[in-house]
């Protein structure tokens, strides 16, 4: 209870005033980039910690008690010699390690000045958050935790910190970046260290990585930056936090090696994401191009376009010590030497998971909702044929968007809505900025469909669906940017419609069921369902949709517009999940692999779309498909086969069917058994 109000305070307090944002490109447009890149850079790190050379850092890691212990253990297990294991450790370290050098930071600062000025109209940064960060880096080791929507994210953050004389961070980056010619090395020298994907059960790699990260945190010479979501979100929706890195950065505090650690959530919002179309295609199963330097150069056409503004909102620095107070008993680390590996206790895991979820929630709250995201919500509620053929009336879209703006404000969203300009201009310029997705013609708005070069044979209906899907998934992604604002009231609205009840406990149990099913889709802090439900009630009451008491939630007449909007907002998710449940319940499916599942379910969805049975194209999104699998695994309706190397799953059809039936209210919800997260 207290922690929930605490994070609200921490996430929002002092950051209310949107006017506090300052455009850092303004100065760059006025003065020399070269002079800027070569100015004195004199940041004050934590307790004046001396800078730590790459060699020193790697040596400290290599010689740590922990790694020598692990090396011995692994040598025993694998039958190789300790020297061989140590050599492997050296290899891993070499592949991993950052090589932060001021010279390269300056070079990056120069180059990025040029690039950013071309791409963005402005990069807006909240000065208050930045000032607090400046203070925080001197007091404790700092962990920067931005959300991840674009490759621009970490470049922008380092750029901003350099600009404001704050120690530039070392950054956890995905290993594919390291493989790019030159670019990998430049990033390395700008402070990136590289982590392999899918480390799985590679014990040695885990050991090296965690010792590396922990050593940086302990020494405190530079902030550590990592994406708690693990990956760049393809759907522009926050991803469920990954806990591995989180454990690593928190452990020095748990074990008393540092007095405190400061977490700084950073919310980056883009008016328009550079990778928008790439992301949509990835979701449709067109494989992600391998990161390569030539690929990057080809992408230079990206530089020709305008991407509007970027907002970087530095959240209030949070003390891990305060957050974890009463949540973890640090005495549990007293009985085993701290240098030895120790399985985290259930308490520690729960604490880390809670904290990770909390950080993602705070990131969400710090996001600025663009007019475009609101428009996307509205556009997606129009039938597809309207968008593609008849066109949506301009004034209708304008009206609805403005209506939604009010609702979003009622729900406490932070909007990025230009104040001094007439609303109609805002909407026109927004549409202009997103001409890759929608077009305005003769008072109507149409979806832009891809113009594939005409093939010899006419395209099949299935291909037509896929072509239509790309812009629709892009729209869905932009809608997702504001889903966190609406999702709780939307779940209550759905509960009201599905249960047709006014009884609070009945609504609450369906609300909890929805949270259980969709907690891979949206971020809910574990154990906070009652507060989430309460929040949903309060917000719906605030906008005049319901009244509620201890026992009841009563729908008001005036509330039908809000409620049906919110229900419709959640409907694509429910429909898509049902399609996949249906596939899994079909005859013949008992054991399946992820590789089979994705195309098969895509085919089924395509079929249903063509037949008109399914209205949403989002069932085609591979992210959603994977989320369904994860949700079912969490709900124990699907189990992963232990022996399988191909990620094969066994489906418990009865269980899947039961979940689907509850979702469509064929049977009442009984609390589903959920197991605590053990994602490490």
């Amino acid at each position: 209870m207290t922690s929930s109000s605490q994070y609200k305070d921490s996430g929002r307090a002092g950051l209310e005033d949107v006017d506090e944002f300052v455009d850092i490109l303004e100065e760059r447009r006025r003065s020399s980039d070269l002079g800027y890149a070569f100015r004195t850079f004199n940041p004050q790190p934590y307790k004046g910690a001396p800078s730590c050379s790459t060699a020193d850092l790697n040596k400290a890691v290599l010689e740590s008690q922990y790694l020598s212990y692990m090396a011995k253990e692994i040598a025993m297990e694998t039958g190789s010699s300790v020297e061989e294991v140590r050599e492997e450790v050296c290899g891993i370290l070499e592949e991993m390690s950052q090589n932060l050098q001021l010279g390269f930071i300056r070079m990056m600062a120069y180059t990025l000045s040029k690039v950013f000025k071309r791409l963005f109209t402005s990069i807006l940064v909240n000065m208050e958050g930045l000032n607090m960060l400046q203070q925080a880096v001197q007091e404790s080791p700092v962990i920067l935790m931005p959300n991840h929507r674009s490759y621009m994210d970490f470049l922008a953050i380092s750029y901003i910190l350099f600009t404001y004389d704050i120690p530039v961070p070392v950054i956890a980056a995905g290993i594919p970046l390291a493989g790019m010619k030159m670019v990998g090395e430049i990033l390395r020298r700008s402070g990136a260290f590289f982590i392999r994907r899918a480390i799985g059960s590679d014990k040695l790699y885990w050991a090296v990585l965690s010792e590396y990260v922990k050593t940086i945190v302990r020494r405190g010479f530079a902030p550590v930056e990592f994406y708690v979501e693990g990956l760049r979100s393809r759907t522009l929706k926050s991803l469920l936090p990954k806990l591995g890195m989180m454990h690593m950065v928190l452990e020095p505090f748990f074990k008393g090696e540092v007095y405190d650690i400061t977490l700084v959530p950073i919310s980056i919002s883009y008016d328009r994401v550079l990778e928008e179309s790439l992301l949509a295609h990835e979701l449709l199963g067109v494989p992600k191009p391998k990161e390569s330097t030539t690929g990057l150069l080809k992408a230079t056409k990206v530089l020709q376009e305008n991407y509007g503004s970027m907002h970087v909102n530095f959240g209030r620095p949070l003390s891990v010590r305060q957050l974890c107070h009463g949540k973890i008993n640090r005495c549990q680390f007293n009985l085993v030497p701290r240098d030895l590996p120790q399985q985290p206790s259930a308490e520690a895991q729960a604490c880390v998971s809670w904290l990770a979820h909390l950080m993602v929630r705070i990131q969400e709250e710090g996001l600025l909702i663009s007019p475009w995201s609101l428009m996307a919500c509205m556009l997606l509620q129009a039938p597809t044929t309207v968008l593609t053929e008849e066109g949506l009336l301009w004034h209708q879209l304008t009206e609805k968007t403005l209506w939604l703006r009010k609702l979003a404000l009622d729900f406490g969203a932070r909007l990025n809505w230009p104040g001094q300009v007439p609303d109609s201009d805002v909407i026109s310029s927004t549409v202009a900025l997103h001409c890759s997705v929608v077009q305005r013609k003769a008072g109507r708005v149409y979806l832009v469909q891809e113009n594939e070069p005409l093939r010899k044979c006419p395209i099949s209906p299935e291909d037509g669906v896929i072509r239509m899907a790309a812009p629709l998934l892009m729209l869905a992604s932009y809608r997702n940017q504001s889903m966190h604002v609406f999702v709780r009231p939307a779940m209550l609205a759905t509960a009201i419609r599905v249960t047709e009840s006014t009884q609070r406990d009945e609504l609450f149990s369906f609300f909890c069921f929805l949270q259980d099913v969709f907690s891979n889709e949206f971020i809910f802090i574990p154990g906070k369902s009652p507060q989430d439900f309460e929040e949903a009630c309060v917000l719906l009451k605030k906008c005049g949709a319901v009244n509620f008491s201890q026992q009841e939630v009563m729908v008001l007449d005036a509330g039908s517009e809000v409620l049906s909007f919110l229900q419709a907002l959640l409907q694509p998710f429910i429909d898509s999940y049902q399609v996949m449940f249906r596939y899994l319940c079909e005859e013949g499916v008992h054991v399946l692999s992820e590789k089979q599942f994705l195309p098969a379910v895509r085919n089924l969805a395509t079929e249903l779309i063509l037949s008109g049975e399914l209205c949403t194209y989002e069932a085609l999104s591979s992210d959603m498909q994977k989320n369904v699998l994860s949700a079912l695994r969490r709900l124990e309706a699907v189990t992963k086969l232990r022996a399988s190397e191909q990620n094969e799953y066994r489906v418990n059809k009865a269980a899947v069917r039961r979940i689907g039936d509850i979702l469509s209210r064929k049977i009442p919800p009984q609390m589903l058994q959920t197991t605590p997260d053990a994602r490490l």
């Binding site: 008393g256 405190d260 640090r330």
Partner: protein
Amino acid sequence: MASNSSGGGSSDRQGIAQQRLRIIAGHLRGPVDGDSTILAAECKAQGSNTDVSSEGKTVPRRRQEIMKWNGWGYSDSRFLFNKKGQAEFTGKRYRLSGMIIPGLKDWFEGTFGANLQHKTPPTPLLTNTAVPPATLNEAFVEEVKSTGIPFSHDAEDRVFRAHGHCLHEIFALREGKIGRVPDMVVWPSCHNDVVKIVQLACKHNVCLMPYGGGTSVSSALECPPEETRSIVSLDTSQMNRILWIDEKNLTAHVEAGIVGQDLERLLNESGYCTGHEPDSMEFSSLGGWVATRASGMKKNIYGNIEDLVVHIKMVTPQGVIEKSCQGPRMSTGPDIHHFIMGSEGTLGVVTEVTMKIRPMPEYQKYGSVVFPNFEQGVACLREVAKQRCAPASIRLMDNEQFKFGHALKPQVSSIFTSFLDGLKKFYITKFKGFDPNHLCVATLLFEGNREKVLQHEKQVYDIAAKFGGLAAGEDNGQRGYMLTFVIAYLRDLGMDYYVIGESFETSVPWDRVLDICRNVKARIIRECKDKGVQFPPLSTCRVTQTYDAGACVYFYFAFNYRGLSDPVHVYEQVEHAAREEILANGGSLSHHHGVGKLRKEWMRDTISNVGMGMLKSVKDYVDPNNIFGNRNLL
């Protein structure tokens, strides 16, 4: 150390004095022991003369004759700021007595933001009306009277035995506030007296609270406010004789009420010592050491109390507990001494103890080493412990304490000395590049025969050099130890000027020493800020003992409380938080101060449920009616 200083001389003068004592002792011994090597004494006749102090013992029955009722130590010894605003230490007992300490004022004002204009003087006199009337158990009183054992229900006598030296206890006394106090004080003068008193207490259901030297810092002497029975303080101070010395086995059989300085002085007269020198040894008693598991400064040579004790006799409600022989080690089930040591007066009264003794050391030498920073200092102490070559005492002060020690330098008479000091400072900070805000100092005490001491000294200095340490002279070392005994007096000075503080200790594995020091100090500073303390606190620490597997760490914490409405409460909250921090960082609940009532709440987590059950069942058997009802520990 305290005994050395109370001897009143620098090390050389002290050496001469000791030699003289030895000669005198030799003369005295001749006629007494004849051809036997065993000295014996019998229990004094009942109702023997009341002024035992005339025998050269330090502690009279009426403690108020020589000691402060609302502060530390002797009435004649205290710090004050004289009319010129200079600090001086009064009296004649200590090395620092009668000296001007020029640096103290600036340090005091600078460190605490205190001001000599802002005074908080204590209530000058104890008013008897403030003391709650005694609830007497008449039948018990009558029977005690018939035994002839001296007793009193005088208000002053009772108040003196109602407290130890925790901050809140002294603060309340200074304000003239008196809570529940014992209803009566008895002074047994031998083991048999104690047996009688305990029997009578059981018979009349009276609550007994043993009282030794009164130096507790764990609220152990506080009377439980919920106690409705008559509380009788059993003051052991008159049981203060050495009953015999066994020179063949090097043991001494001693009554448990003897205070440290008397024990050492009397043994010294025979050419022996126990070597047990806790910082409180001027006033703390042998029985108290046993009851709290005390530790002495020179434990590296002589061991802690559990290593020194050969035999213990304790009177309990169930009778007397003791072993049947004096074998140096036994395998006879769990050692019953370990039920007694650390029992904190909850099971009975320790009356007689046989302790190991050693011939007095031939040679003593102080020393000190300056390190560029605390980390290096700790690394050096760890190495010394690893090589098992720790001197009699080795202590590492952090930078703040180094500065504090510096501020306590008495006025030097010669220009030459101050010139030398300046030169030393120049050498260390400028030539060697030590940052005066990071350097720290280790103080050393070597003991043994001269040749070995010098050899040992070289070994330790060689290790120190590997960690960047520079030898910084005997003087600095000796002053470091002086700090130990004057610090309690200094607290009284602080309390005259809005400054309150305390020290507390823990023991911790080596790998956590640095972390615990940093985290606990930081926690104290943070908590003070959060609790509205207007001035930055003094938060400092030192490593005072080394062991094979860890170290003992002391924290000192003080702050200026101007602007706070309930300073003691704030102080207690901060200390509580600091203790939680200690535990969270792998430190123990206590290294040697004990648990008392102050740290009871953490006992269960410390020793586990089963552990609590074990201790409780012992208590239930030994003292089913809770006659020893001080409610410490459990």
